[in-house]
Symmetry: C2
Subunit: 309 residues, 2 copies
């Protein structure tokens, strides 16, 4: 077995190149049926396939260099469809400073876009999932719930004003990875654990708890203001949308309390934000504690929107 | 754009790590519908997905270190099916000295196994597709046509004795990559161009011709003896089976004439063989010339066995 500078089950995989120097690898696949709701263009789907993978690099603080693409294309796709996919792939890669340098295309029943991403890192700069310690501050790079609300719009035709619709749908169709924030955070060495939130906020908190053998107490839930409005209008639970959604590409990190200002400043200098939402606890539970009202956060993962689309 | 130590369109992609040192990357996807004929087990399909990628590394002379796997699993697959797939992936990786170090699983309509393979190489040892020069000897690491004949058995129920059936079907179900031969050849620096034959012998010869801007004259077609027997019995053309098949994982190389013995010896020391089949020509045509009877070799690619399976 080669030396594993990144443990199994983290956001990315790693191979030691030389002492302290690591090749960082990730592969993740976008499948039409489960990852591309109706209304999302092929360009957007292809770009999203890149963003999904870049977000995992962001969570580790690693700059992606090169992407390889394996495409499975249904027989009825036109040359224009394929050109649109190529355009989305390149746009996504270039936005995050990477290049598509190779790949293969074959025929498949459903659209399949499998990306593999490569970069290198200094081992000590890698932010892993397993370093959270009691007392650390739990923080996120943004507000949650917009993609879950957006899926309600897409699938259940819930109502929203047109400006709200645009914000919610763009969170699904043109997601943004927090690469600048992740790289800036990794340089501070203030972060003790980090994960990308693509499986949903609740799931990520449980992952940090499990991988670091600690608990998490959330005292301020980062619900997007648009989600609060949307939930009120449609009689939905905004907390649920923020906790148990998914396909959101924020970073969820734990920060050494003494280094908080450094971490926050790094994110702001990178053009982002870092929002404290709770604390790491010794007791390995994941709890929501709002104004003294405690309830467990369930380990629900994000579930793809399946064949109901 | 990062420095590209391996040109677009070669068997693998490369990223320069430091001067003369290259990260080698490959991603290729196995799709149930087109790559897994009925009668092939999930274990065999998964192992084949690894072999497909290892063979590209073999053609460049690069030892694979780590594999990442993205699995798309149909909803009706059982836990046993998935365990069988995991077993086949690991068996394939271990056979060639690599480890599966990460991956993701999702749901898809059809079985999808996307592999990405990582290794490192010294740039000057990489065997590319584009270095063939007039006068070089064209050579292959084995005989051709068995998978094409095996597909006739699978699909058209052509007849063969049971020992012949076993040989032909095993060429499909448990293909072998020529990794030892490829690595041994790369160390000789006798090879001027190299390609893996998964798209069929004819296609590979055209690729070498196109990428190196030369022609190829084949004077001895490496038809497997079993294919000659099978073709005679079923009234098929053995030459066609050898030239226009595919999913065979031999290496097709061009060798400096003065270095021929070194190259041949390297392959034999690695447990394999190197068979001279023709010469590189200045005139950019791909010609079969058997006993003075010349005919063009067509640029037919391997066509997957499609939905007729």
């Amino acid at each position: 077995m080669p030396k594993m500078p990144v443990p199994f089950g983290d956001d990315v995989s790693g191979v030691e190149l030389s002492k302290g120097h690591v090749a960082v690898l990730k592969t993740d696949m976008l499948v039409g049926k489960t990852d591309v709701p109706k209304g999302m263009s092929f360009w957007q789907a292809a770009r999203k396939a890149i963003v999904m993978n870049v977000s995992d690099f962001a969570a580790k603080g690693v700059q992606p260099i090169a992407a390889l693409v394996s495409l499975g294309i249904p027989a009825d796709f036109t040359t224009e469809n394929v050109a649109e996919i190529a355009g989305g792939l390149n746009a996504g890669a270039r936005q995050y400073g990477a290049y598509v340098i190779g790949g293969d295309t074959g025929e498949s029943n459903d659209l399949i876009i499998s990306i593999s991403l490569f970069g290198t890192a200094t081992k000590k700069d890698l932010m892993l999932r397993n370093g959270a310690r009691p007392g650390d501050i739990v923080a996120v790079t943004g507000f949650f719930g917009k993609t879950a609300a957006g899926l309600h719009l897409f699938l259940d035709r819930d109502a929203a004003s047109s400006d709200l619709q645009e914000i919610l749908l763009s969170s699904i169709c043109t997601p943004q990875a927090r690469l600048k924030e992740g790289i800036a955070l990794s340089k501070t060495h203030a972060v003790t654990s980090s994960i990308d939130s693509s499986d949903g906020l609740a799931w990520c908190l449980h992952e940090i708890s499990r991988m670091s053998n600690v608990g998490v107490l959330i005292s301020s839930l980062p619900v997007a203001e648009e989600v609060v409005r949307f939930a009120e209008f449609n009689n939905l639970d905004a907390e649920e949308l923020a906790l148990y959604g998914g396909e959101e590409y924020e970073l969820v990190v734990t920060v050494k309390p003494k280094e908080w200002v450094n971490a926050e400043t790094a994110c702001e200098s990178a053009g982002g934000q870092l929002l404290p939402i709770g604390k790491v606890m010794r007791d390995p539970q994941v709890i929501l504690d709002i104004d003294g009202c405690k309830k467990p956060i369930e380990p629900h993962g994000y579930e793809h929107f399946k064949t109901t689309v």
